[in-house]
Every structure is written in C-alpha cells, then in structure tokens.
Symmetry: C2
Amino acid sequence: MEYFQVRTYTSADYEALCRLDEPLFEGMGGHVLFRHIEELFPNLFFVAENTQTHEIMGYILGGIHFNDPKTGKLIRIGVKSDCQRMDVGSHLVAALFTEMKNQGVNKVHLTVADTNTAAISFYLKKGFQIRKREEKYFYPNASRLILEKEL
Amino acid sequence: MEYFQVRTYTSADYEALCRLDEPLFEGMGGHVLFRHIEELFPNLFFVAENTQTHEIMGYILGGIHFNDPKTGKLIRIGVKSDCQRMDVGSHLVAALFTEMKNQGVNKVHLTVADTNTAAISFYLKKGFQIRKREEKYFYPNASRLILEKEL
C-alpha cells in the first residue's frame, strides 16, 4: 500500500518546495520557476505528499508548447534525498503524463545535464530516448541531452 | 531615429542575456527561465539590440495561461543599467503586447516585489493598475504586488 499520494500543487506548498528544491537544484532558480508554473500551467504541477505526516516528498513540473500544443515538456522533477528509491518519481511522472494526455499532448521532451547519470538512467527506464546532445547549453558551460518519449 | 531594434530572441542570444540578467536579477534564475521560455513561448521572448554594435540592451519574457488563453503574463523585463532611460523598456513592452494581442490575449498581469518602486512606477506609466498585495510571496520573505492591464 502506498503511504504517499500524488496531488496537484497548491500555493500553500510553495515554501516546503523551495526548501526541498534548494539542495537538489542549487542555483537553478526553483523558487522563481515554481511561481511561474503555478500561474501558467497549474494542472501540470504535482507534489507527492506523505499521507501520514503530510511532508512533501517530491514534485514535478510540466509545460506545453504554446505554438505546438501536442508537445509537452517535463520541466523539472525533484525528490527529497531521503525519499528516493520509493517510487515517488514514477508516480509523479505518471500523474504528469496522464494529465498531459488529457490535454492532447502526444510527445514529451526534457533536458538533462549530460553529466547527470542518475537522472538519465531514471528517464531511460521511463521510456525516454536520447535524441540530441547540445554543447554549452546551460550557462556558463554545461552541455545537455534532449530526451523524448511518445505518450 | 531609433538606434536599436526590438526583435524575437534566438538561442544565440542566451549567453549575452545571462550576463545582462545577473546584476539585475541576482539569484532569480534567469539562466533557467530563459531556456524554458525559449521552448514554451518562443514568440513572447524579445530582445532589444543596438543596431550598430549588436549589443543586447534588454529583454522581455511573456507567457499565456494554459487554462485561460486570454490572460497573459509579463514574466520579466530587464534593461542593462547603462541603457536605461532610452525608451528600450517601452519598446519591449509594446512588442510583447502586440504579439499577445495577435494571440487573442486581452488582459496581462505581472508580479513585482512591493519594494521595487522604480519598476512599479514604470508599469503604472504603461497603464497597469495595482490589483492586490500578497505577503511573503517570494521565498523566503518578500511580498509582491499584482498589477494588471487590459490590452
């Protein structure tokens, strides 16, 4: 039995998410990103919550291309380090993709630093495929992989 | 005669924008935001470029609410400190609003820290009105004003 639930983010989750995000994505502006996605794509922003303690264990953010509404983007996923290996990430991904499909999305892409082998391995297990490598994508000097998956 | 032009952002502008943004919005994740907006709302991302030197003088980012496509958001505007008071901001705002109107948007909102009097004054001159104040909006502890304008 799961002891956590995935539910839509609400603005009351913001502070907990900022604290969760800082050690995971230091300097990557989570506190700014959350506020924008909350307004622009409220249905594509999910959190996993411990059903007993109500602790936020992780989150996922998505978006849809304005000029190409069948293409979705997995913007970011973060799971607290002491909540990893509990399938939280899989449930977050499933919730996001279900909602994207409801909105007519049939292809999702994401960007990952080419050095982030844990994340790359996670995404490959979820059915993503590596489409492209792009040098110096992140400022000032980190390369990215673009991964894609049909929904 | 203008000696700058406003044009759509391209990914070749990214590094110059990161350098321009850092002193203006330190710690506010511009380098991350630019990459996401580049993919999600490419038509709502403009830069002002000096037509002689090709220096990037400023930028503006917008988005449209996925669940309410008549509502636009002015996500961020930044003008290099030595390019301010040259009407660059006004031209960037005009370009964004023209494109938003083309896309069917009839109302734009934005968020500004309630302490940022220079920005608030700029927006009020552009026809925005203050709609709401919200405590502790930015993590960890800054309040915001929500401003709105009919297009």
